[in-house]
Amino acid sequence: MKISLRSNPLYATIGVLASLFAIASFSYDGFFSLRVIANLFTDSSFLGVTALGMTVVILSKGIDLSVGSVIGFTTILVAYLVQDAGVSVPVAWGIALVVGVLFGAGMGALIVLYDLPSFLVTLGGLFFAKGMGFVISSSSIGIQNGFYDAVLNFQIQVGPGAYLGAGALAFILFFVFCLYLLKWTRFGRYVYAVGGNEDSARLMGLPVDRVKIGVYAFNGFCSAFAGILTTLYMGSGNPLTGVGMELDAIAAVVIGGTLLTGGIGGATGTLLGVLTFAVIQTILNFDGRFKPAFLRIAIAALLLGFILTQRALARGKD
């Protein structure tokens, strides 16, 4: 079982992503601009944060299907607390994050303590969070709040017409944090160890159970965090938000080169995966000529082209 990975596939991914961007820049007026690049980060801030959490889960050889629902739940929870219950925004955010962590830790505990398949437990989590979102409110709640406006008005100008808002900045900072977490901290390395071979990790004396619960708790945090970013992005809460986002997140992680079999991959790849999705979406929005039927096919074709080129390059270098 010889896995020769290291940076190779990552370079391939960067290369393909860059050329995709370059081709689009030649094809569409106004595509090549700081503004579009800044938008890539703003538009994928919440997907990016969940995908980073998902990266950690997948690295530990687990999977978490509940993220989309937890995001939806968080948005409606925050909107309810701020708008209807009159809780101050930081407190509402704190509550949401704590709930997210507890929810993730709960699923993790079930998975670890009873040795259950993570797929099933988190599928249960998906349904549960989805239902609970509707229990809070079955329709969307708009957030009208001074604090929100202030956060939304906070922007860093990076170029003409190009701003990085709070969401994008949070995403970038969080990415750096995850990079650090995975590469430099004990928890991060244990995650890789558990994903590489759980039995061996146990025999090597690593606290496997705690790491696994930690992974799901961390991902619960990420989902809640992403939910908060979503409320910033939309200025509202809606239990329908986030439907199917678990698949987007998993796909972004995997396109970034993290293996579903665990133990191999990382945050940088995920960032690239998320940006890939964003670039493809932006291209389609810039083009704007497709009929709905062709639109889906175009997304798939771009995705396929991307992956195949990336694969071919990575293999060529081997």
Partner: protein, 298 residues
């Protein structure tokens, strides 16, 4: 060709559509695209695949592209303020289509053209109250996707009227996600649960058409043993009305194209326009469906 003069710049309009989840929706998209082609507009179409985040992303990219005007068919009512502010800052007017939004700042959009889902619910209920007789009419409501605007509004409007009539009672209200096969599955099970159902009110035609199949499979006659009422009025539903299987459909037209572009041009040319245009929804039943069916486009 060569009609394009550099001085006379082509109009660039972006359209953020909800998705392609139903015949009604694709007819709506079609109408817009056809009209845009006719007028020679540089038309940027984006499908949100049923997700608000995608729609917001599309609007932001329209802003980045510097379109002249944005048409938005919002999937939900709330959550548009941040992105509409961005469009406003860029000086791009926004035309809302099909659904209204909830906002603190009405200046965020230039105008609204669309239908009133609550009114559709009311129309359906009014038809029922007038045409269905009985002391204890039992109604089954097939809801759309939980949380979606049409589902909520069509329920609200319908109940508003039903609540005023004590001889009408909604005995069951369940979601079939606007889907035909879910409509059938749900109806099959409700038929077993309730021995007597007088009226089925479906939030869209697809669910009604699915429910009809279930009713027939149970050996009953839709339209006779059970009164069927639905909303949208796609062609297939019209045919069912003519065939006597659906009793009443409330039309919610998707053909906004010509009107929307007229409005867009007015806004851009600074001509006066009406800020809120609500399409007049029509009600069809056995009495008038046959005459209208040939004019159906979708």
């Amino acid at each position: 060709g060569g009609g394009g003069d550099s001085a006379e710049k082509k109009l660039k309009i972006g359209f953020a559509q909800v998705g392609a989840e139903s015949v009604w929706r694709t007819a709506n998209t079609d109408s817009m695209q056809r009209e845009a082609a006719k007028r020679g507009v540089d038309f940027k179409f984006s499908s949100g695949e049923g997700k608000q985040e995608n729609q917001i992303r599309a609007i932001r990219s329209f802003v980045a592209q510097g379109v002249d005007l944005i048409i938005l068919s919002p999937i939900v009512e709330t959550g548009w303020d941040p992105v509409l502010k961005e469009a406003k800052r860029a000086g791009i007017p926004v035309l809302l289509m099909d659904r209204e939004i909830e906002t603190s700042d009405e200046s965020l959009y230039a105008a609204f053209i669309g239908s009133d889902f609550v009114e559709e619910g009311r129309l359906a209920a009014r038809w029922m109250v007038e045409n269905v007789k009985g002391d204890n009419v039992k109604i089954v409501e097939l809801e759309g996707t939980p949380g979606s605007a049409p589902a909520i509004d069509r329920q609200t409007g319908f109940r508003e009227i039903v609540d005023k009539h004590s001889n009408f009672k909604i005995i069951e209200s369940q979601s079939a996600n606007f889907r035909r096969s879910d409509g059938k599955d749900l109806m099959e099970s409700l038929l077993k649960l309730h021995s007597e159902i007088d009226v089925v009110y479906a939030h869209n035609d697809d669910m009604a058409l699915g429910a009809i199949q279930a009713i027939e499979a149970a050996g009953l006659k839709p339209g006779k043993d059970i009164v069927i009422i639905s909303i949208d009025a796609i062609k297939e539903a019209f045919e069912a009305v003519v065939a006597g299987k659906i009793n009443c459909i409330v039309e919610c037209t998707p053909l906004f194209g010509p009107l929307a572009f007229d409005m867009a041009e007015k806004i851009l040319n600074g001509e006066p326009y009406e800020r809120r245009v609500v399409m007049k929804d029509k009600v069809f039943d056995q009495t008038n469906a046959a005459a209208a069916i040939d004019s159906r486009m979708y």
